[in-house]
């Protein structure tokens, strides 16, 4: 099994180093004339007001939570899909029960208007 991952490992190393090589070449070629105005944050020519790292809305967190639940569900479903040809009808029923239980959660979120982006 590991021999497959040799190439992936080599690619990972090369793909991590390569972007920095590009930036390095650009560093040799490009002009370097920084000044405070140029290096200020670009917000359409207006000076930035207040702290950048503002507080975000709970909406983002809620969607991320719903995502986590479905992400875990899919992780379970993939190996079952691979083994699907070996399963009998009863075992398929278990899988469907698993999916339906989670679909229930989606339905609940829908009813409670948690899927509405305000």
């Amino acid at each position: 099994m590991l021999e497959h991952y040799g190439l992936i490992g080599a690619l990972a190393l090369i793909a991590l180093i390569f972007p920095f090589v590009g930036v390095g070449v650009a560093w040799l070629l490009r002009p370097k004339r920084p000044d405070p105005i140029k290096n200020s944050v670009y917000e359409c020519g207006v000076e930035t007001i207040g702290d950048t790292w503002v507080q975000f809305r709970a909406q983002y967190y809620l969607f991320a939570l719903i995502f986590v639940v479905f992400d875990v569900e899919i992780m379970f479903l993939f190996p079952i899909a691979v083994a699907f040809q070996r399963l009998d009808m009863m075992q398929v029923f278990y899988v469907i029960l698993f999916v339906v239980l989670l679909a229930d959660g989606l339905l609940y979120a829908w009813r409670k208007k948690a899927l509405e982006w305000q």
Binding site: L2, Q55, Y61, F76, Y94
Partner: protein, 164 residues
């Protein structure tokens, strides 16, 4: 031999990242260090030829949990962008607790027989996991589904913005 060397490198990397997580002064950096630590653990899983566990580690911990943590950081205004010291008055107790936990885990793992044999990983290991989920482990599998459902309902109840 190469496998051992890679394991050592990844173990050091993972530990370094974990150390960065607890010592970083910026909470966003802490979250990124945590991502690095998760990635190191995933590589170790791959080295153990547990490709499904490794990929699940990346998808769930880096793809979902880390993002959730970062969103949670952005929700709490009082801490974002501030470079507070990670040391407060309780750090000594926390260190003691962590050391005790580590000792307990090390003791536990030294006693468990993981049944390590020289058997190679079967070619259809993933199909075996899948079939196992609906035969031998069907109860935990369905309970996991209910757990996820409860988590979803709870999250909606708590996090939903109140409609006036």
């Amino acid at each position: 031999m190469a496998q051992q060397a890679l394991f050592l490198i990844m173990a050091v990397f993972t530990l370094g990242m974990a150390l960065g997580t607890v010592t970083s002064r910026n909470i966003f950096h802490s979250a990124l260090f945590l991502v690095g630590s998760f990635a190191g653990v995933a590589v170790i899983y791959f080295l153990l030829e547990a490709e499904f566990v490794g990929v699940a580690q990346i998808i769930i911990y880096i793809g979902a949990i880390a993002t959730l943590i970062i969103f949670a950081i952005m929700l709490s205004r009082s801490v974002t962008g501030q470079n507070g010291s990670p040391m407060n008055r309780q750090w000594a107790f926390a260190a003691l607790g962590a050391a005790l936990l580590f000792a307990a885990l090390a003791w536990l793992f030294s006693r468990v027989d993981f049944g390590s044999t020289a058997q190679p990983v079967p070619e259809d290991a993933i199909a075996l996991i899948g079939a196992g989920l609906v035969t031998e482990y069907v109860i935990p599998f369905e309970v996991a589904s209910i757990l996820l459902l409860v988590a979803l309902v709870g999250a909606i109840l708590i996090a939903r913005e109140r409609h006036s």
